[in-house]
């Protein structure tokens, strides 16, 4: 039954059912339950199949959005998943964590007047990917004959996993080296279970292993092997570096090293990767703060604050230098944080952290800010207001104000160019200045998004294939390419 545009326009956006705030703030289970098949079909019917497909150009990897949504409307969920996967190999992840409001949904024609009316592309993407996984409908791609070439991928975050997946399907032998004892990068150690269940990442990784990707855990490249050794000693033909940004910044203020002051990386790694919320069955201990201050306004800050609430904090306060509208966090996360009664102290920035004689945090002093002239990014610049200090008590401070480039690899690979912030320089295809070494994701761009890291991985896989094939006479390009 074909709907008219008017009938489609009449359907209202379907939200996902969620755990209520006063229940979920005590557990680590996922917050939204996801669509039922009926809801997914009804939401899909809202799409107008626009000829110009603005949504597709809003997506960094150009997922064929109207095409997959039309399949959902026809209840062809597995086919829809396949269509998405031609461009995005981790739809269950992206459906959950992409900042849709600034990407695909941000330019959807139905959201022109009110972004809340855009077609729920992310929710639909999540639905079809979950449907495919839960019903074991994923197609195992046919692997071409092995071409005898070996590629090493450093880091198993979204960008590394994408490169590995693309290249194994082209017949390369792919080996991932991962520093931690588990794969997935930020998807497992940073983003909490209540936002991205770990079993999703695990199933993506085991799918790659089924295709023949080898993963060596506990392998810190730069220490265990240098990049040159990967070529000279271990015989790889190309190397992809996808190690993420991974170096926390602390504010340059007194009191940073008191007990109870954590980088978000440490706090979230303890909780997510090491499962210290299940201490002592899991042996990594955690300090449970009662009054927790979180510094920053991005996804990392929201994740830290919402983890603190779940671990048992009585009060969690986000301290952010700019205004609410300027917070870089996904809209859904900031909204969920508010619902979970996390307090926002906007236009404020810490100037000192206080502690007691035993070395524990006791509070902090902040300064108020106001919005001034716009800066290069077009956002109004926050400027401190003179003599506007205020103090409050807290026993834990979670610092989520961003990171820098981890120098472990770049320092031990001196012939590879980095920029002045230490990030690796590449061309648009991920080629570094060092021959047959490629890089992508946060180690090139600085902290960005899952989908952009995956996009970079896909480009680099193409470049690796092109460059290695130049050296051999066989050039094959399969249709999914």
């Amino acid at each position: 039954m074909e709907l008219t545009a008017k009938e489609r326009m009449a359907i209202e956006r379907h939200g996902m059912a969620e755990q209520p705030p006063d229940l979920r703030n005590r557990n680590f289970e996922e917050v939204p339950y996801g669509y039922t098949p009926e809801e997914a079909v009804a939401e899909a019917q809202r799409c107008l199949s626009c000829k110009k497909m603005p949504c597709v150009s809003g997506c960094p990897v150009e997922v064929p959005i109207p095409e997959f949504i039309a399949l959902v409307a026809e209840k062809k969920f597995a086919e829809a998943a396949r269509v998405i996967k031609t461009k995005n190999v981790l739809p269950a992840v992206c459906g959950r964590v992409c900042p849709q409001e600034t990407q695909c949904e941000g330019v959807c024609v139905r959201g022109k007047k009110d972004i809340k009316e855009a077609v729920a592309v992310g929710n639909l993407e999540r639905f079809v990917a979950d449907y495919e996984r839960e019903n074991n409908l994923a197609e195992v791609p046919e692997i071409k004959n092995k071409n005898g070439l070996k590629v090493a991928v450093i880091g198993s975050g979204p960008s590394g996993l994408t490169v590995a997946g693309d290249l194994i399907k082209l017949g390369y032998e792919v080996t991932i080296y991962e520093a931690f004892h588990r794969g997935g990068g930020v998807l497992v150690y940073g983003i909490p279970e209540f936002r991205l269940p770990k079993k999703i990442v695990e199933s993506e990784i085991s799918a790659l292993e089924d295709l023949g990707v080898k993963i060596y855990y506990n392998s810190v490249i730069g220490r265990l092997h240098k990049v040159d050794d990967l070529f000279n000693v271990l015989g790889f033909n190309a190397v992809y570096i996808g190690v993420g940004a991974g170096l926390p910044i602390f504010l340059n203020i007194p009191g940073n090293n008191f007990n109870g002051v954590f980088s978000a990386n440490e706090y979230l790694t303890r909780s997510n990767l090491m499962k210290s919320y299940l201490f002592p069955q899991y042996r990594t201990p955690m300090i449970i703060g009662k009054k927790v201050a979180v510094l920053g306004g991005g996804n990392v800050a929201m994740d830290s604050a919402r983890t603190a609430i779940r671990l048992g904090a009585e009060k969690v306060t986000i301290v952010y230098r700019r205004a609410r509208e300027q917070m870089p966090a996904r809209a859904a996360e900031a909204h969920h944080a508010e619902e979970e009664k996390i307090e926002f102290r906007l236009l404020s920035s810490p100037v000192e952290i206080f502690g007691n004689d035993e070395g524990w945090v006791t509070g902090m002093k902040c300064q108020r800010y106001e919005l001034g002239e716009p800066d290069e990014s077009g956002r109004q610049r926050p400027v401190p207001i003179e003599d506007s200090f205020f103090e409050f008590d807290c026993d834990q401070v979670l610092v989520s104000i961003g990171g820098e480039a981890n120098p472990l690899i770049t320092k031990t690979t001196p012939d590879m160019k980095t920029n002045k912030w230490g990030y690796i320089e590449t061309d648009d295809w991920g080629r570094t200045s060092k021959k047959l070494v490629y890089a992508g994701g946060d180690i090139v761009t600085g902290a960005a998004t899952v989908i952009s890291a995956m996009g970079a991985g896909r480009m680099a896989a193409k470049a690796i294939h092109e460059d290695l094939m130049k050296e051999s006479d066989e050039t094959v390009t399969p249709d999914w390419w």
Binding site: V220, L224, N259, S263, E266, F279, P280, R283, R310, G359
Partner: protein
């Protein structure tokens, strides 16, 4: 991988020889590994005290102090560790200094050994001073003797060598006018601090291997941060060795005690044969 191939015990220090060929090939003196006994374990840093590229093994000396080290102590030959990550940390700076003194206590007795060997190979005269409460607590002595020009002892009860600690032996040497060009110390924080104070008046360049709390060991989390000369450093990548005359000892001690309360409860119930209490939420 990571199979425990040999194990022995001297008092409560456990020698663990582990199959880890890639690490054995790339490790250098002064570096450490981060291990997890089981999938649920904490990640704890341990210095690699010896290695053998022929057998593809590394040797750790584990001092039992809490739950994680107890779990390792209970492992048997043939068991495998869940994870061994390394080498981590910057290697010791090995040069021809002249005369090098190495001081070790508890696990440091084992941990100074590779530095002693490397310093000797670099042409130094190497003197090791090791301390323990009683003479029967020393270990790895034969190898240490072979690697050093001289090995001196200090015991709390005077049962072997000088009655006292490493710093007492050093002070005596310095008072006698022995020329020391470089000192390295490995052991508990108190020992590192006392030894650094002993060399300070004589301006002897002093490196101490700090043992702050660590998590990833790659510079990603900042758990291991220490103040050295007024600057924040990450012990896992900038160290673990730092100038002993510049370390903020009080801060290090406080940061190391952050989890004592939780760790003690669990250790006590576990070490007495009890089940690990269920106190976690979720």
């Amino acid at each position: 991988m990571y199979e425990l191939v040999e194990k022995s015990e001297v008092f409560n220090v456990h020698e663990m020889v582990i199959d880890a060929p890639e690490i054995a090939h790339s490790i250098e003196a002064g570096q450490f590994v981060i291990v997890m006994g089981s999938e649920n374990s904490e990640r704890i840093p341990l210095t690699v005290s010896d290695w053998n590229t022929d057998t593809g093994t590394i040797t750790l000396y584990v001092l039992e102090t809490g739950m994680s080290t107890l779990e390792l102590a209970r492992m048997k030959v043939g068991d495998s560790l869940y994870a061994v990550t390394g080498p981590l940390g910057s290697p010791s700076e090995i040069r021809d200094y002249g005369t090098v003194v190495l001081g070790g206590g508890c696990y440091g007795i084992g941990a100074i050994y590779p530095i002693a060997k490397a310093c000797r190979e670099a042409g130094n005269k190497v003197i090791s001073i090791i301390e323990a409460r009683y003479s029967f607590m020393f270990y790895h002595e034969k190898e240490l003797h072979a690697a050093c020009d001289q090995v001196l002892y200090a015991t709390s009860d005077g049962s072997k060598g000088k009655k006292g600690k490493v710093e007492d032996v050093i002070t005596e040497m310095l008072e006698k006018g022995v020329k020391i060009d470089q000192a390295f110390f490995i052991g508990c924080t108190q020992m590192l601090e006392r030894c650094s104070e002993a060399t300070r008046p004589y301006n002897i360049p002093t490196k101490v291997a700090l043992n702050s709390i660590m998590l990833d060991g790659t510079g990603m989390c900042g758990a291991c941060r220490v103040s050295v000369g007024g600057e924040t450093k990450f012990a896992c990548v900038d160290g673990p060795e730092f100038d002993g005359h510049k370390v903020d000892w009080k801060e290090l001690d406080q940061r190391k005690s952050a989890y004592t309360e939780q760790e003690t409860v669990v250790y006590q119930s576990y070490s007495h044969g009890g089940e690990v209490p269920k106190v976690g939420s979720a």
